[in-house]
Amino acid sequence: MPIVAATSLAQLPDAAAPLIPWYAATLPFWPLIAALAVLLTLITQRGRTQAHKFVVGGVGVAAFLALHLFFVVLGEIQRHQSAEHPASAAAVAADPHTAEAAHDSGHDNHAPAPKTVLRFPLYRWISLGGEHWIDVNFFVDSLAGMMLVTVTFVGLMVVIYAVGYMRDHHGHPEPGYERFFAFLGLFIFSMCMLVLAGNFALLYLGWELVGLCSYLLIGFYYQKPEAAAAAKKAFLVNRIGDFGFALGIFALYMFISPLVQPGENPLDYAVAFKYAAALSPDQCTLVSLLLLCGALGKSAQLPLHVWLPDAMEGPTPVSALIHAATMVTAGVYMVARCGVFFVGSPIALTVVTAIGAATAIFAASMAMAQYDMKRILAYSTISQLAYMFVGLGCGAPDSAIFHLYTHAFFKALLFLCAGSVMHAMGGVIDVRQFSGLRAVLPQTCRLTRIGCLALAGFPLLSGFWSKDEIVHAAFETSPLLGALMLLTALMTAYYTFRMFFLAFGGPTRLPPEAGHHPHESPAIMLRPLAVLAFGAIFAGYLGVRLSASRDGSFLGFLAPGGFFHDYLASSTIIRTAGHEGGAWLMYLSSLVAVTGIVAAWVRYGYAPLFDPDPATFGRAWRWWHAKYYVDECYDRIFVRPLRRLGEACFGADRNLVDGLVNLVAAVPTGVGLALRSLQRGSLQAYGLGMAIGIVALLLWWFASAGGVNAALALAARGSLP
């Protein structure tokens, strides 16, 4: 794999970086204010059913500001480029054809793209012993701009959808309606803080706060024991990762702090990235792998993937927003952001790739043998996140972010469609319980089909472009890895449409919970879905470039590249892999997607009552269905022994440690006896005891101190001439 020598970020502007406008810096606080306003309605007990208005408004403002910030960064990039390369900047501003030419020339020269950063300091948060400190400051580049737009935009759609979803059939809000919206607002705030953070401690803050929101929202139906257990599991598994993440931050400080100039904070991104090139490969490996632990937890990669399927106990909008589109991608974002450390360590990159590849196929296989729509989508999310990790590991972080961005649209769409089905089916989500829903829920069926096609990588839809780039980078790294990715793509197409046909194909069959007249979702739910579906189809074209195809074929005409990648090139991420996708790969991956879909149609097109897969795949299928018994293994290997250790410690505490201490205490039996009489006796007796004690003590002091002093005095006199 052609890893280009680590590009240094030494030219990264730090203190002199321009500020973002102050009103844009208020971005994360609007959803927070909205959440607090909802809290106020809770306290005053008034307007509780109007809670959504605050949150939709707050997230709406945030989305608007995110879009604004996106263009502020774009403007800054152009200003920056026109200062350095007048020709190419004009080209970016003008039409795509010349932009491409400029881009190509840039690549041929292997000149690193100029890095553009804006910042915004708020206040000094924690002092680290006077010399260094931790600020609350924002660090905005094109990566943050892209993430913010994705997060707030998908967030806005989901919040609007939830207004309809969190109501019963009569349109009355569910219990906990206002709580739900308050938590969603808090989540958007936390996610924006995570993305905007300008130093590692603040990143950790956002990181943990989104974990908190995830906990609160998975456990939203807290009376369900499964939901409470899933919430706890999600938080704890994430904490395992955060343990490593925190150590990574400490290690980073340890390595960077000897290098910095006075007045620079080692934990600030700008400073850490600036000095990253001075770290040895070993140090880079250590920091990268520790940071990676956090990413594995948050993005549910092996071996910390176990929490995400269980997280589906939360309300569906939460699954769509937090557990598919935004929060779980935080790991990918973080690894891309810290790319400069990963690029410095071939070991770390290999580990990222290996974990990604293993998780991709592992999760896809589990998704093939599930019946719960949301769980199928959850495993698919793990698998798609693993694609992104492969992209990161193969030196194509911008492709990973591109996939993150397209995935947010189609996966949120799919989850919300599943929610729509659930809404109509009275809470039933098991695909064995119903079929033929295309007649009952025509709109949802159409939208789901779009989402499924995008996820399956059907040609010309958004998922196709982004997945293709990653597959290509994988092929560049090693053909075996590329083949593995294509196999995963085949499985993805297959299980996606297996789910689709089981739910929407075949004769109409409804569960008793659905009632007599299951109905299509209201407009307030369908409209956000339509917007997301639009994104699922067309979002990919941001990352595609029209080009005169090299071999005259149709698909070569549209090649990866274009605006998205040019934009991201100015961020702190470092691309080391090649850029162009070969046309043959596009044909191959189209073929793979179509094969998977056709295979699913052949086997499941009529929504058979008898599932043919278990027979076909035999024992392997049972392993997939049982999720490889990972939960059971963890329970046996970690949870129960630790619990037993706790019991043993408690036993030791009561008997051994306490016994020893009691034994020591029993030696001066007299003291015990005296005390026994004391606590039986009255206050006066105690007072007497105290008085005697004080007198005795004073006498003793006098004697001993006097004695010593007399001795001192004698000694002093003796030494005198």
Binding site: R124, I126, G129, E208, G219, A251, L259, D653, L675, V708
Partner: protein
């Protein structure tokens, strides 16, 4: 008589008044106690702002008079002075005490129904003792207050405690008393040696003088450190010496637990910070690693034992063992950031664990049980309580944005980067990040989530309680909730005045000494490969 004397002696006077109050005023006793404690809070706040204004150089509200004087400067003798004054370290803890006492008083309104006058009298006497300990600038005065706090708490546990109250009170008293006797011997030795070394005939116990002694040998310091350790480590409590704590906590009435966890445990850590570190810096450096090992053992052990408790009060009690382990780990990193994190940890632990004990007490008053197997799903019955409990749980778990995070992060950060300890200490201590979440979420989940489970014939609303929290109870928890968030967002309101004082009083002593240590500082595992090649 200045403001500091006022808050030390006002509660004591009030205690006597309350105790001897005629029967017809008995109903007013709780309110008198609350009024007095609120008055001390106002004075405490004023003193804290005064400290902020005064800067690091001087003590605030200093008052110094001779108390006991024997002999004279020619023949030799000793002087014990009543010398009080506040700097930022003691000021922060005085303010913590002043914050917690009114809450402890208010939470007793419905919980304590018999022998009320005595109860509030002891509570107020305890308050005096706690203020006195932190204010004392004379080591023997400190010691007198230190021991004095045992008496009221002994009675609070022994009379108003749970089923095993007498055993618990005795054990608590014996344990802490036994340790502090050895500390007392150490103090005497130190004072006499100080007189010898400075050639002064009078043995005095001035804190500043004892903490700036030149010329104590390493061996002496090592032994003196052990003497300090005996008294303070039991109080903290450090790992193998903690067994008195769960029992005392569980049996104590809620107010007792709050003050025990919130303030009295801090006497131990404060003792280490004020005595062991500056008075025996070489000893502290010598013992830093063993201390850190004990701290880490406490973090892990406390957390694991916490996790298997069925009694939620015991669970919170064991969590203190774990949390105070963090506090000690930060302190013995012997770095400025570690010390400041450690003091902040004292404050934060006081607030969040105090709050947790209050919440547990509120549950107990309604259900007369603290067994997690008998309770469940209370979020449905008591949404307000659930919200408070979740907030304090996450504060205790160290969620960023709340107070616990700042101190936990800085403490672990310091241990990791400390030349005295090193990355492995930080890494092992950081397992507490995970384990803390395990037992706290276990408790919150058991208590609040799942299907509703209540013992038969409960909740007991006989004493004017409501199903969810009453206004009084909300008023008790709300200030803590505000502080939990405030100190998480702006921890510098505590650490900014603190840092220069810690630097002047503790760090300078440590740094002065570490230069003349025989052994070179332990090499950092990774630092050898740091090559600043081109920036």
């Amino acid at each position: 008589m200045n403001a500091l004397d006022l808050i030390i002696f006002l509660p004591l006077v009030a205690a006597l008044v309350v105790w001897r109050l005629p029967d017809r005023f008995a109903a007013a006793v709780p309110h008198i106690a609350l009024g007095v404690s609120l008055a001390t809070l106002v004075v405490g706040l004023a003193l804290w702002f005064e400290i902020g204004r005064a800067g690091q150089a001087e003590l605030v509200a200093q008052h110094e008079v001779s108390w006991i004087s024997l002999g004279d400067s020619d023949a030799g003798g000793l002087t014990i002075r009543y010398h009080v004054g506040l700097d930022a370290i003691s000021g922060a803890l005085v303010l913590l005490t002043a914050t917690l006492v009114p809450l402890a008083v208010a939470c007793s309104f419905s919980a304590i129904t018999h022998r009320q006058r005595e109860y509030y009298a002891w509570l107020l006497a305890l308050t005096s003792g706690m203020f006195g300990v932190f204010a004392a600038r004379d080591v023997l005065l400190f010691y007198v207050f230190f021991e004095f706090t045992l008496i009221p708490l002994y009675f609070l546990i022994g009379i108003w405690g749970g089923a095993q109250r007498r055993y618990a009170a005795n054990k608590f008293f014996l344990f802490t008393f036994a340790g502090s006797v050895i500390t007392f011997a150490g103090i005497l030795y130190l004072a006499i040696r100080a007189a010898q070394l400075t050639g002064d005939r009078m043995v005095t116990f001035d804190m500043l003088r004892l903490s700036s002694l030149p010329g104590l040998s390493l061996v002496e310091q090592r032994w003196l450190f052990i003497a300090f350790f005996c008294g303070f480590a039991i109080k903290v409590p450090l790992f193998p010496l903690h067994t008195w704590l769960p029992l005392a906590h569980t049996e104590a009435p809620t107010a007792g637990s709050v003050l025990l966890a919130g303030v009295l445990l801090k006497l131990g850590t404060y003792g280490f910070l004020r005595f062991a570190l500056p008075m025996t810096p070489d000893g502290a450096i010598w013992w830093a690693q063993p201390m850190a090992w004990l701290a880490i053992a406490g973090i892990v052990y406390g957390a694991l034992v916490s996790w298997v408790q069925r009694d939620i009060k015991k669970l919170v009690a064991y969590s203190s063992v774990s949390h105070l382990g963090f506090c000690m780990l930060g302190m013995f990193s012997l770095l400025p950031v570690g010390l400041s994190g450690s003091v902040l940890y004292m404050i934060n632990h006081g607030l969040s664990t105090g709050a947790l004990f209050l919440v547990v007490g509120m549950v107990y008053e309604r259900y007369h049980t603290r067994d997690v197997d008998q309770l469940g799903g209370l979020a449905l019955r008591m949404p307000i309580l659930a919200a408070f409990l979740m907030l304090f749980t996450f504060s205790s778990v160290g969620l960023p944005g709340l107070n616990g995070f700042v101190s936990e992060f800085t403490v672990l950060f310091a241990a990791f980067n400390s030349p005295a300890l090193g990355p492995w200490f930080g890494a092992l201590g950081a397992t507490g990040i995970l384990l803390g979440a395990v037992y706290m979420l276990y408790m919150a989940g058991k208590l609040l989530f799942g299907p509703l489970r209540e013992p038969p014939n409960t909740p007991d609303l006989a004493r004017g309680l409501t199903r969810d929290l009453t206004r009084r109870e909300i008023a008790i928890l709300a200030p803590l909730a505000v502080l939990v968030v405030l100190l998480g967002v702006a921890p510098r309101i505590v650490t900014d005045p603190l840092d220069p004082v810690l630097d002047a009083q503790v760090m300078r002593r440590i740094e002065g000494r570490s230069a003349r240590r025989d052994a070179p500082p332990p090499a950092l595992v990774w630092s050898s490969s740091v090559e600043p090649s081109g920036t």
